[in-house]
């Protein structure tokens, strides 16, 4: 009974499965980007080769950095992603295992990877990393408010359920939340928000390669960098899964694969067709455009639209 949980965490919905699928999705990302640029793009094993190469390189710790916090920050991200994977998949396939308030637990766990970036960037004693960490923090405050408002639409539509298993059951009975006006609004807002959570192009302000080199992960090399990239790849898989779970009927049906892939391709297309925003523009976008939009969605959801 206890060993099966070890299996859940390490192999199937947990670490191994999620990281392999996430790395394959980053390959899809790079390949689609390459096709948009009218070039061939990397072979399918490219993310795995990158990961193995980073594992075999030495890990440098900058002088003056806080060693423990510097090295623990990527582990924090990767642990959060593993726990999210296990919770999300177990609650999809065994809805009776979910508990009241697990939606809120998942939201807080999704806040940990940006926190890992902020901690790691601040601990690395590099001015550019500090700038990146502060931008990440600002961006986090920007996107979290519309994201909570968008998830509130689900909660309102399901008559106040904050239990993922129950939300999935509700959608099985009454149809997915996405098939209503407020559901569409929630999905659009969430797509923009996960773009920012992943740090992809319109909102890659924290990692802006051309201005502040790589932001919080600037000083990372070797294993630590590999873990950061892996946690980002896992997030790239888990965030669309999360959206499909709470808006689009759960992951149990085989069409869920197509839904997740569709969301991933939409993310990649947004990434490739937009320039980077400044941090103040991004904040204005989230608070002054998406938040009123989300409030309209909430009002529509109260009226069962």
């Amino acid at each position: 009974m206890k060993l099966i949980y070890l299996f859940y965490f390490l192999v199937f919905p947990g670490f191994l499965f999620t990281s392999i699928v996430g790395l394959l999705l980053t390959w899809i990302d790079r390949k689609v980007t390459a096709r948009i640029h009218w070039r061939v793009g990397p072979p399918w094993y490219q993310p795995f080769a990158d990961f193995l190469k980073l594992l075999s390189k030495e890990t440098l710790i900058p002088s003056g950095a806080h060693k423990v916090i510097f090295l623990l920050a990527p582990i924090l991200s990767i642990l959060a992603m593993t726990v999210i994977a296990v919770m999300l998949f177990l609650m999809n396939f065994f809805p009776e295992k979910s508990f009241i308030g697990d939606l809120i637990v998942l939201l807080y766990l999704f806040a940990l990877p940006p926190l890992g970036l902020i901690i790691g960037g601040s601990a690395s004693k590099n001015p550019l990393s500090a700038v990146g960490a502060s931008r990440e923090m600002t961006l986090y405050f920007g996107y979290e408010l519309p994201f909570l408002a968008a998830i509130l639409i689900t909660v309102i539509k399901t008559n106040g359920l904050i239990q993922i298993g129950e939300i999935i059951n509700f959608q099985h009975v009454n149809g997915p939340i996405f098939y209503s006006i407020s559901g569409i609004i929630a999905m659009i807002i969430s797509l923009f928000v996960i773009q920012a959570k992943l740090g992809y192009v319109p909102f890659d302000i924290a990692e802006a390669e051309q201005e502040i080199m790589a932001g919080p992960i600037l000083e990372y090399s070797g294993l630590a960098l590999a873990l950061f990239r892996l946690s980002k790849a896992m997030m790239f898989f888990l965030l669309p899964c999360f959206l499909v779970t709470i808006y689009w009927g759960g992951l149990t049906h085989w069409t869920a694969i197509l839904k997740v892939l569709l969301l991933v391709v939409i993310i990649i297309l947004i990434k490739n067709t937009n320039p980077r925003l400044r941090i103040d523009q991004a904040l204005k976008f989230f608070w002054l455009i998406l938040l009123p939009f989300a409030i309209i969605g909430i009002i529509l959801a109260f009226n069962n639209l």
Binding site: G41, P42, L55, S56, E58, L60, E219
Partner: protein, 138 residues
């Protein structure tokens, strides 16, 4: 174990561009190399913004008294194993700057350069050939 390290380096060399006081000609050719037209991502080559992430340093230009400590610093910050790729004739010898008061000599006095790509500037095709040869040599 060593084999895996070399294989990983072969399949995904991330490059960092060190412009050690060149005349900008080679730098512009490197930017050309990284455009979609030549598509170096086929070989896993990606331009990164920090020497801490890099596996290969693309050095251009002659080393002079001002740029030498900086180039050495960048080399020290690069996690090993790493490649050093000299781009342009200036990196092979000191080219037309040979008799300048400020030039401190060719690269191989200070850095273990793995491959030299001559040309003033070399074409992007020549750079791809040179990098692929350097990777095969590993």
């Amino acid at each position: 174990m060593k084999d895996i390290r070399i294989q990983g380096l072969k399949k995904s060399p991330w490059v960092f561009h060190v412009a050690a006081a060149s005349c900008n000609n080679c730098d512009i050719e490197i930017l050309d190399l990284l455009t979609p037209r030549f598509d170096v991502e086929r070989f896993g080559i990606v331009l990164v913004g920090s020497p801490k992430h890099a596996d290969a340093l693309l050095v251009t230009g002659v080393i002079n008294r001002k740029s030498l400590p900086r180039v050495l610093r960048v080399y020290e910050q690069t996690p090993k194993p790493c490649l050093v790729i000299g781009i342009g004739t200036c990196t092979c010898d000191t080219h037309i700057f040979k008799h300048s008061y400020n030039v401190v000599g060719p690269y191989n006095k200070y850095l273990p350069v793995d491959v030299y790509i001559p040309g003033c500037p070399p074409k992007p095709e020549a750079m791809i050939l040179g990098i692929v040869k350097a990777l095969q040599k590993l």
